[in-house]
Amino acid sequence: MQQNKELVRAFFGRFFETGNLTDDLDIFKAGFVNSLFAMQLIGWIEKNFSTTVSDEDLNLANFNSVNAIANFIERKGV
């Protein structure tokens, strides 16, 4: 779990400054990211964790923070 959080943070770091980012901060509400980022995030999860993000997975609650994404990756069993 912790390792996945660090991977997510490293991915976020490609797009915005993560120094003050807490694990629970909603990155969409905070205005850090846009739709293109969301698409790249999904592609990154699929590629790096060898999983498929299906239509049923598309819920903002799965992708809006470091914790949410790390939890989602864990739930997918990868």
Binding site: G13, R14, F15, A38, M39, I42, D55, E56
Partner: protein, 380 residues
């Protein structure tokens, strides 16, 4: 046989099909502002409408490198027919990627077989490149939504049976699958376009059009993701089709400049003509390689495929305009008449610079993404 050789082996098949069933009708499509009736059945018979769909739904699971080559060859013959492959493919892609099992069951086989025609409805009178400006609303009604608003510039909107559409719902931008034959939708043909004139554009007017919640793609608020991922497919197709326009320009120029003599020698022996041919060939080669690179990354589902497709579309579409303009120039007055294909190629090429991300939007996006990569590389 390596991958590239395998793919190239199919080029002859695609080219032979194009020469027999597509190219001879390109002028007709341009003049009549519609594609000939036999085009869809001919494409369907060979499985070219949505060949990337898996065998389960009747496709062949074609990889994107090969698909790009197919769209290039068709685009070399007629950009309007390639436009059909683009938007029809986009609808199949979106349904395949984000649709529920029920939606896949209902539509994919029919799209692959050409029994239904698909389209992509994103642009509006006040929203094209600026997707955030979309005004069409989706308000909750019983077990679905009511759509109100207008979609404009919808390629093959005149004959489409099913459209992937984005509207603004309370939860955010949401993607829907909408069917033509339902109350509340009226379709107006758009005529008099500059290029890809056979693409049968239409304006779709929705007034209290009811769409069931089962026709939501992915989930509400993820409409942007659905549409952007589908646009990557569309952009790749347009890039490949643009390579086809460059090839067609080159073919026309070679044929003409060898045959026609000026100042006692064939045109191609004049140095400034040779310079134009050389630029055209380098643009053609580079654009084709960028498309192949993008196709390879799409096949690998590599996140960098977005930037690779941006680059391929940027170079191929801008090069297509240069190549077609030079082809007209080399043809002189003949190039300005409809007796030669190059004036149509120039009109078609200009459209490639506008659709699926204008040149200027691509320049902003490409620079933004490169900046991210630079900062990541340098740990800034």
């Amino acid at each position: 046989m390596n991958k590239i050789n395998e793919v190239e082996a199919r080029r002859d098949e695609f080219r032979a099909f194009t020469r027999e069933f597509v190219s001879p009708y390109a002028t007709q499509h341009d003049n009549e502002e519609r594609i000939a009736d036999h085009i869809v059945p001919d494409l369907a018979k060979r499985g070219y409408l949505a060949p990337f769909i898996s065998q389960k739904w009747g496709g062949e699971g074609m990889d994107m490198i090969t698909l790009g080559m197919l769209h290039e060859e068709i685009g070399c013959g007629c950009s309007s027919v390639r436009s059909l492959l683009t938007v029809h493919g986009m609808s199949a892609f979106a349904l395949n990627r984000w649709g529920s099992d029920a939606l896949k069951e209902k539509w994919l086989s029919a799209l692959v077989r050409g029994e239904k025609i698909g389209g992509f409805a994103l642009s509006e009178p006040n929203a094209g490149s600026d997707v955030s400006g979309i005004e069409m609303t989706a308000t909750v009604h019983e077990d679905g939504f009511l759509l109100n608003g207008t979609k404009k510039w919808i390629t093959f909107g005149q004959i489409g049976d099913v459209f992937i559409l984005m509207a603004k719902a309370e939860q955010g931008f949401t993607a829907f699958v909408v069917e033509k034959d339902m109350p509340g939708l009226t379709i107006e043909p758009i005529l008099g376009m500059t290029g890809t004139r056979g693409s049968m554009l239409a304006q779709l007017n929705f007034k209290d059009y009811f769409v069931h919640q089962d026709n939501v793609l992915a989930s509400p608020a993820f409409g942007n993701v659905v549409m952007l991922s589908t646009l990557v497919f569309g952009r790749f197709s347009v890039a490949s089709g643009s390579v086809g326009i460059i090839q067609a320009s080159m073919d026309a120029v070679i044929e003409y400049s060898v045959r026609v003599q000026r100042f006692g020698k064939p045109l191609y022996k004049h140095q400034l003509v040779a310079q134009m041919i050389t630029k055209m060939l380098s643009d053609l080669t580079a654009s084709r390689l960028l498309c192949r690179n993008a196709g390879e990354l799409l096949d690998k589902a590599d996140p960098s495929d977005i930037q690779a497709v941006f680059l391929a579309k940027y170079l191929a579409s801008t090069s297509a305009v240069r190549a077609a303009a030079d082809a007209v120039q080399i043809h002189g007055a003949n190039g300005c008449t409809d007796k030669y294909p190059v004036e149509r190629l120039l009109r078609d090429a200009k459209v490639m610079e506008i659709i699926e991300g204008s040149t200027q939007i691509l320049e902003e996006k490409i620079a933004d993404i490169e900046l991210q990569s630079y900062e990541q590389r340098d740990g800034k």
